[in-house]
Symmetry: D2
Subunit: 141 residues, 4 copies
Amino acid sequence: MDEKFFQSLIRRSHEEPFGKMIGLEVVEVGLGFARIRMHASSRLSNIFGTVHGGAIFSLVDEAFQLACNSHGVMAVALNVSITYVSAPGEDALLEASAEEIYRTNRTASYACRVTEPLSGKLIATAQALAYRTKKSLVAEE
Amino acid sequence: MDEKFFQSLIRRSHEEPFGKMIGLEVVEVGLGFARIRMHASSRLSNIFGTVHGGAIFSLVDEAFQLACNSHGVMAVALNVSITYVSAPGEDALLEASAEEIYRTNRTASYACRVTEPLSGKLIATAQALAYRTKKSLVAEE
Amino acid sequence: MDEKFFQSLIRRSHEEPFGKMIGLEVVEVGLGFARIRMHASSRLSNIFGTVHGGAIFSLVDEAFQLACNSHGVMAVALNVSITYVSAPGEDALLEASAEEIYRTNRTASYACRVTEPLSGKLIATAQALAYRTKKSLVAEE
Amino acid sequence: MDEKFFQSLIRRSHEEPFGKMIGLEVVEVGLGFARIRMHASSRLSNIFGTVHGGAIFSLVDEAFQLACNSHGVMAVALNVSITYVSAPGEDALLEASAEEIYRTNRTASYACRVTEPLSGKLIATAQALAYRTKKSLVAEE
């Protein structure tokens, strides 16, 4: 796939209703790779006043989604195992990355991590498994 | 714990910023158990126009969060492994349940599932592991 | 599938080199379901003198393997997430069960647990995901 | 910890009954790190004649066990999520590595992978979570 296709994926991500609602922003998409950012604002808080586990997961999931679709073939999530390491600081900038570990015709797996990129503090790690359909994705105008 | 404490947990969940934003509603909280609902509205869509994996996870995570805190001792997520089974129908009502499998002084594990309760269709299953702190939770007025 | 096919699966399991080496014994195979037993003998010990995590996993994996192949279509493991709950007693009898949660043409998922069946003590729980090939299995004479 | 302690861990691993039975051999132990080898011999076969998923997991688990105990504080497995990528070749040499991703006073997580070291072929990947007790380990004479 080429840069034009990656730009199309980024556009689709930025127009996605759920991503807009929680404040996701794509930093980079490459072959089998993606990085996404989000601010740990109080809008994302859980009952204890820290960032909701679902918000942190969603950041990971978006990176995973773009990485596994970066080959131009539609892929869907089969399983994600997330381990929470530490709670983000108040209003911290968070970044998730997803990096391809292997890819066959039918499945692919990604190593994901969430950090506070300014301090390098690790927030969560995840292992994500995608099912690869036969459907082609094309760059949208 | 008693009914008053469960009602306090439900109130806190309904006041939680992230839960309000994505539309979570508690159905029931009991000892080691919780059920939560959410509508699969288009506001929760991903780049393919179906419900974002992060939104489905968040529904599970809220049920897990209430179930593991239902004993009156603060518990935090260590690991969640989610398996996606089928995409929800458009605008479908979704329900997540979390049910305690075991509990020691330091950890506890929950079997979770997401269904469309009207049809019984299975959307996702998850296994969730909590770390139990020593901190007591009290019913808030 | 019928009883003859289940008996054939049980025979193959009992002839399997790895299962014989660690002492696996099939209790029951049904559609989407299996139960296996093993003694927690000192032959299976780790560096701390308790049963090796790999031996407990292998017991689960055999139950999963038979359950996901019980439909007569060859299935292979994609992902297994195991949570260890408590160490088995010395020389305890252990039993693993695997039960189908869902099944599509391409994947299927199983809820697994390991207990000491005599006391009901829970040893481990697992969630297992299989990829279903198109290859038929037939009862071997 | 020092080299003497690592050598003591290696000795304990080589004397471990389960590891001896399935043919595990330690290559290296360092702080938060370990590598183990095993031959994919026919003794480890499952009902399909390929290496049993439990044997591959056991190789990973031994690397995890040594890596998480390398700090001189007893650690036990809480959760391991393994993804199977490809079946090993007949009689292939297999190597598992476990590498620490983070470590707090109560938990630690490890990224694990199994390869055929001669060809670099990836066999499996895993994410492993340990609970760290307060108990000290000492080098045994």
